[in-house]
Symmetry: C2
Subunit: 258 residues, 2 copies
Amino acid sequence: MSDPADIFNKIPELNHEETLKDVSPESFDNIINNRRSVRVYTEEKIPAEVTQKVLEWALLAPNSSNLQCWEFYWVQDPKKKAELVKALFNQPAARTAQELIVAVAKLKTWKPHRRQMLDLFNSTHQKIPTSARAYYEKLVPVVYNQGPMGIFGPFKRIFISAAGLFRPVPREPKSIADMRVWSHKTTALACENIMLGFSAYGYDTCPMEGHDSARVKKILGLGCESEICMVISAGKRAKNGVYGPRIRFPSEQFIKKI
Amino acid sequence: MSDPADIFNKIPELNHEETLKDVSPESFDNIINNRRSVRVYTEEKIPAEVTQKVLEWALLAPNSSNLQCWEFYWVQDPKKKAELVKALFNQPAARTAQELIVAVAKLKTWKPHRRQMLDLFNSTHQKIPTSARAYYEKLVPVVYNQGPMGIFGPFKRIFISAAGLFRPVPREPKSIADMRVWSHKTTALACENIMLGFSAYGYDTCPMEGHDSARVKKILGLGCESEICMVISAGKRAKNGVYGPRIRFPSEQFIKKI
């Protein structure tokens, strides 16, 4: 394995600058606070442009190594939608929803996406840092490839543990289980953009982890390289759409200053 | 197992309404677009109130069954911070950062949090839907308990597969691996709030999955029931802080209309 330190810790000589646009914490506070898990929606439709924009926001989430290991199924076909509602146990957040989006974590698209990234580097006029090229060429295949049935895992574990005795080393992903965590984590970042995005447009959402993943995958025609991260429903909240005031335990339980 | 359909699909008779605050998609678009992974920060400090507020926004993310399986370590002690930078391979996004936050996924806090939820239900004057009480009393222990070393997993798998032949059933989590996915997924939703939250205040962030998780856990004094979801650095971007224009593959690759 290349020494990750070489790839990670040098600042490349580039001169890229971006114009920052106006933002306000007050507006974000409202978006965050308006967002509640809504269980019952009205019959008001969501304009297609809104859902499209929200899904495009999803794709702007940060993601692991920019390998974009996600997919978002916007289920529009009435028959498929009805089947999906059944796979969501007919819960009101699904059956009264105007839109249903299935967020899918992809375990193996890192391979073609790595290639796609290198092709992009080769075709652009932008200056690409040597470290970025080295990252995709050398490090990515070593880090993400777990071998057939995860057979490289035990070897990775031994190698990493040994190397880690002497210096800091990246330890994950070293198994198929880690690859699952990895792809769901990135997909979840995008899911939050979807929920906040709808909230920014004045629409509501509900993330549903309670679903029959095998049936959802069948409806979407997905195989074992895809996992259902969550299903997100959207619409306008009905009067009884939010079941009660938001409950959170005291923040000191979770925010640890050390 | 209680039939999840009974708990999931009835709309309780409640009359809770929330006042919605002003939001704008334009402002959210700016927050999303300003957010880039920043690798080099200036020496400008972030006011403590900003970081505190951002962390409180994290806790308002939707989360699985409201079991709040997350923790956020705001590392302030200079010695600990220096150690953390080392465990992040001394990468510029860490070593030039003003703040470092470690997002931790908790595999077992669902147990005390389930109890805490029921205690809250018992102490409140709010009307709690019977289905919510039943959910935490009956369903949560069955769904999340994997037994010592995950020993319940194979039995769950057989039971779920058999039951799933006849009707939709929730299939996950049925192993410790699934619990890892579960807790990281919820923690990642909160991480996105952190990154967008800093962006809303005009600050920058970088999520770092490339770290030595064993060393990071040691610095924080965490055991095997905790996993490092990601480390997020924050500050104001330096002139060379963003390495290049944002790269995303065409959205049709990821947004599937079916």
